[in-house]
């Protein structure tokens, strides 16, 4: 077992190295046809002329290619801006598509080999590592050692991993051209699934899905004796693979709008954006169905399911962000901040983001129906601000990049507007609670330590109080880590769900408020 683990680790590291080096192994040579077929009609002639000096030139790195591109493109665009010729300014960023079109290198000539040696080895090594490591360890040691690990307790390995992830997200969101070589190696898969070229988002989706799968295997093994954990892990893998990754691509293949049927506004913050609405409305029956389905999820799905099962039905059984947090992020869960201060921050921030999303969407809709007569420009700016600050920086860079530093649910706890909505329902109108088993709690603190949402579970358990908190995603790890069998996730009658005056069983002398 140990051998499999070590071989797995080596393969994983080799794969990671190839994945990291590949972007540096390409060169770029742009031709006019490439340019013409990559950009929008309206910009075609302008750009074809502007980029004249680049044709036929060889650039040996992404960086030099991009620098050259900017040196021709930026002055032109800046001048238009200076002249306030807004209708001529080019807002699109063609860096990525041009880099992709102009690129030449091993990942383009040998995509399958490149893929196998990078992501393939990562997946294979990861699975072997998990099989070897978790298959061998004893059940009673399931949660041990996390604070003795450099990776899991903010040691050097943790810092390196965090930095790598942060760097990856920064490149993905703001400098995607550097990923062009990696995108080429998933091109065949994209062509197969959707019949179209791969973008950086396709690469990201694939990596994301595989990460949940590989680390999901680890969860299934780690929780060999715990059916609740296994089922919800399987569910997360399923929804990510089918709903978030494959179905949207196949829809594109069938000439339908790209759509993730399990993504819900306001997490899916552009659901009501004008171009989305236009797409739904112009795509026939299926498009309308998507629109109605999305709205039904918001107004009926969320309240009804959350009433019966708590927000866990989404956050730790269905959601893609939850999927990554519960698999890749699982071993960082104990890093969440448990202080009362953090809880105060949490309430301000998450409800603030919800308010922002609601206001932005309301404005968008008003504008949509008044054909942008009112505040059209403000709405656009709001969209790009929200997309940048919340969609990319918060959800991506901080939410995932900071796993090894702040824990795995930073986004879900402090930022996700859908979690805020689900949480309000869970707190005020739901059958879900974590029941405390009478007077059995020994205040050891395992539950609080391992709560990814930073809930001080012990504070409730030790006074015999049920845990009813808007942030609880129902992952069930508190119940699994508790050494005294004190906690149980339950759906039950609403009455008596919240104990205002909890009474601990055991003391007949007095009945008092704990």
């Amino acid at each position: 077992m140990r051998k499999i683990e070590i071989i797995g680790l080596i393969l994983f590291l080799v794969g990671m190295s190839v994945f990291t080096i590949l972007p540096f192994s390409s060169q770029y040579r742009l031709s006019e046809e490439q340019l013409r077929s990559s950009v929008k009609d309206i910009h075609r002639d302008q750009l074809a002329e502007l980029m004249q000096p680049m044709y036929g030139q060889t650039y040996t790195s992404t960086h030099s290619f991009l620098t050259a591109y900017s040196s021709y493109f930026k002055p032109y665009n800046d001048e238009l801006k200076a002249k306030q010729a807004w209708d001529q300014v080019i807002w699109d960023d063609y860096g990525f598509v041009l880099a992709k079109a102009a690129m030449d290198g091993p990942s383009k000539t040998n995509p399958w080999a490149s893929l196998g040696l990078s992501i393939g080895l990562i997946v294979l090594g990861g699975i072997m590592f998990n099989l070897g490591g978790n298959g061998a360890s004893h059940e009673s040691l399931t949660h041990t050692g996390v604070f003795h690990s450099s990776l899991k307790n903010k040691g050097l390995l943790g810092l390196l991993t965090g930095s790598y992830l942060i760097l990856f997200y920064v490149i993905l969101y703001w400098f995607p051209a550097y990923l062009a070589p990696l995108v080429w190696m998933v091109e065949p898969i994209s062509q197969f699934l959707s019949g179209g070229p791969a973008s950086q988002w396709f690469l990201y989706g694939l990596v994301y899905t595989l990460a949940i799968g590989v680390m999901g295997v680890r969860m299934l093994l780690k929780y060999r004796g715990n059916r609740y954990q296994q089922l919800r892990t399987a569910s997360l893998i399923f929804f990510q693979t089918a709903f978030a990754f494959i179905i949207p691509e196949v829809l594109v293949l069938l000439n339908k709008p790209y759509f993730d049927f399990k993504n819900i506004w306001p997490l899916d913050y552009d659901f009501f954006y004008d171009y989305q609405l236009d797409t739904f409305i112009s795509s026939g029956g299926l498009g309308l169905f998507m629109l109605v389905w999305g709205i039904l999820l918001i107004v009926i799905g969320v309240p009804v399911f959350t009433y019966f099962y708590g927000k866990r039905w989404y956050c730790s059984w269905v959601c893609g962000c939850g999927g990554l947090a519960e698999t890749v992020g699982d071993e960082f869960r104990h890093l969440s901040d448990k202080s009362i201060k953090a809880w105060q921050w949490e309430r301000w921030m998450i409800h603030g983001v919800l308010a922002l999303a609601v206001v932005m969407t309301a404005l968008t809709l008003v504008n949509y129906f008044t054909s942008f007569s009112l505040l059209g420009q403000v709405t656009n700016q709001l969209h790009s601000m929200y997309g940048f600050a919340i969609g990319s920086a918060f959800a991506g860079v901080v939410g995932t990049g900071f796993y090894p530093l702040l824990g795995n649910r930073v986004w879900c706890r402090f930022g996700c507007p859908l979690a805020a909505y689900l949480g309000l329902v869970q707190r005020f109108k739901s059958r879900f609670r974590i029941t405390t088993n009478g007077g059995q709690c020994i205040s050891c603190g395992n539950c609080s330590t391992h709560c990814e949402m930073g809930i001080d579970v012990r504070a409730y358990a030790q006074q015999g109080q049920n845990i009813v908190r808007s942030s609880c995603v129902g992952c069930g790890v508190c119940a699994s880590v508790c050494p005294r069998g004190v906690l149980k996730l339950e759906n039950g009658p609403e009455e008596d769900r919240i104990h205002e005056f909890p009474i601990l069983i055991g003391n007949d002398s007095i009945k008092l408020r704990a």
């Binding site: 004893h138 059940e139 009673s140 040691l141 949660h143 041990t144 050692g145 996390v146 604070f147 003795h148 690990s149 004796g225 715990n226 059916r227 609740y228 089922l231 448990k338 202080s339 009362i340 029941t435 088993n437 009478g438 007077g439 059995q440 020994i442 205040s443 050891c444 603190g445 395992n446 609080s448 330590t449 012990r458 504070a459 030790q462 069930g476 119940a479 699994s480 880590v481 050494p483 005294r484 069998g485 149980k488 996730l489 339950e490 601990l504 069983i505 055991g506 003391n507 007949d508 002398s509 007095i510 008092l512 408020r513």
Partner: protein
């Protein structure tokens, strides 16, 4: 009443619960909590998890540091060396003094040592305090060949688990002829013994420690058992029970037996001096089947609650309800509700069921009339509220088993052990039980028996 100065020696669960509840009931009181061990209240029960890297020290503290200030509970880290009950002045190791109006002794326990030759050697220790944890961490920070644990009880098995985490081979000496003989019936003890042997614990029953041998540097090198066998080891854990931590009180006028003698109002022999938690010894057992020393977590908490109540309201005597407790033996959880005697008594009906994989069991002792007296469950979880009520209301064994599904506290989708238990009870006692129906989802997705 004015503002009396309550001084509590000991910041464990009993002393702290007392202080918190006193503050809730009395806004005026001045409250000082003293401990030499640690500045803040922490959970002794979590020491093992810190050692195993499952928690950090700060996680053992149930309240954040600002809590104490906000509730005006003064904390003092020092050792009390002298007590003068006439002048009501305490003297500290630091030389400082403090005057009290009411003194609450909540000094807890300490590991019991039985005067073995060599017991003061380096590498020989119990596990009770924060300092014990630190010495144990230091003693096992470098790889060692073998450790020996003496004493077949809860702390012994925790130490064995801790050492297993560090992959240190353990020899476990137990004087009795089974593990935790005072509490566990034979079948349960055997189940646990089998389980821990899977972790390569070398369990030696009916084996006692006789002598501890030193190397040149004064470290433990080996132990000798009463059978004369020499077992080499570089660490020796002593877990032969705990005894009230009252040595510093023995030279005073306070009545001290094993612990501080108290009545059912926690009053000691000296006016304005009370004792709660592990260090209190009741003159009479506080309830049927209870002992005069109550050395578990929740009893310390209940002592503190009750005494605080008595200072704020009309005093009541301490009356614990139905006994319960829990523990964990490596991966196997143990719970008990009510009283189950470890050795079968003739004429007393007792039901026992064990799962075929040998990791889950359920026992129910009944009285002659077939009413439930108590249960022991291993490897699955039972609901405190359910069994507290069943025992209090003296349900028949048949009724308990009939309704067992309500009494199960396992996570969703766990194997429905109650079904097998219901069948086994039916077979063993020949009474009809209509077994519970499983939900559709449980049937499809639930774990199998």
């Amino acid at each position: 009443m004015g503002s009396r100065h309550f001084v509590i020696i000991g910041n464990g669960i009993s002393g702290i619960t007392f202080a918190r509840h006193l503050r809730k009931g009395d806004d005026q009181a001045r409250i000082t909590v003293i401990s030499g061990e640690s500045p803040y209240f922490f959970s002794r029960t979590a020491l093992m998890y810190v050692y195993m890297g499952q928690m950090k020290w700060e996680h053992t503290q149930p309240y954040e540091p600002h809590f104490w200030k906000k509730n005006r509970i003064d904390l003092l880290q020092d050792w009390v060396k002298t007590l003068d009950f006439e002048t009501k002045i305490l003297g500290f190791a630091s030389g400082e003094t403090l005057t009290y109006d009411v003194l609450v002794l909540a000094t807890g326990s300490k590991p019991a040592f039985f005067g073995w030759p060599g017991q003061d050697l380096k590498g020989v220790q119990g596990l009770y305090t924060k300092q014990d944890l630190e010495t144990m961490e230091a003693a096992t920070s470098k790889p060692i060949q073998r450790a020996v644990i003496v004493g077949g009880g809860l702390i012994g098995i925790e130490m064995a688990e801790m050492l297993t985490y560090k992959k240190i081979p353990v020899t476990f000496l137990v004087r009795e002829n089974r593990f935790w003989e005072q509490v566990l019936p034979e079948q349960e003890a055997e189940l646990v013994q089998k389980h821990i042997s899977a972790y390569s614990i070398d369990l030696r029953l009916q084996t006692e420690l006789k002598e501890i041998l030193a190397d040149e540097q004064g470290n433990v090198r080996a132990v000798i058992t009463t059978a004369g066998e020499e077992i080499p080891c570089e660490f020796l854990g002593i877990a032969t029970g705990v005894t009230p931590n009252v040595d510093f009180l023995k030279s005073t006028t306070l009545a001290v037996g094993k612990g501080v003698k108290v009545n059912s109002y926690f009053e000691s022999s000296v006016p304005d001096v009370y004792a709660i938690g592990d260090c209190a010894e009741f003159e009479q057992p506080p309830g049927p089947g209870r002992r005069t020393l109550e050395q578990v977590w929740y009893t310390g908490r209940m002592h503190g609650e009750t005494l605080a109540h008595n200072f704020c309201n009309k005093p009541v005597s301490y009356q614990p309800g139905v006994w319960f407790n829990s523990a964990k033996f490596f991966a196997i959880e143990y719970q008990t509700y009510g009283i189950v005697r470890p050795d079968a008594v003739a004429g007393v009906p007792c039901f026992y069921w064990e799962h075929h994989l040998g990791k889950v069991s359920f026992r129910m002792e009944m009285d002659e009339a077939g009413k439930i007296a108590g249960v022991i469950n291993l490897g699955f979880r039972l609901r405190h509220e359910f069994f507290d009520r069943a025992i209090r209301e003296k349900w028949s064994g048949q009724q308990v088993i009939q309704r067992l599904e309500e009494g199960v506290f396992d996570p969703e989708f766990y194997a429905p052990y109650h079904l097998e238990i219901q069948n086994a009870f039916q077979d063993q006692f020949g009474v009809p039980i209509s077994t519970s129906k499983q939900s559709f989802l449980q049937k499809i997705f639930g774990a199998r028996l």
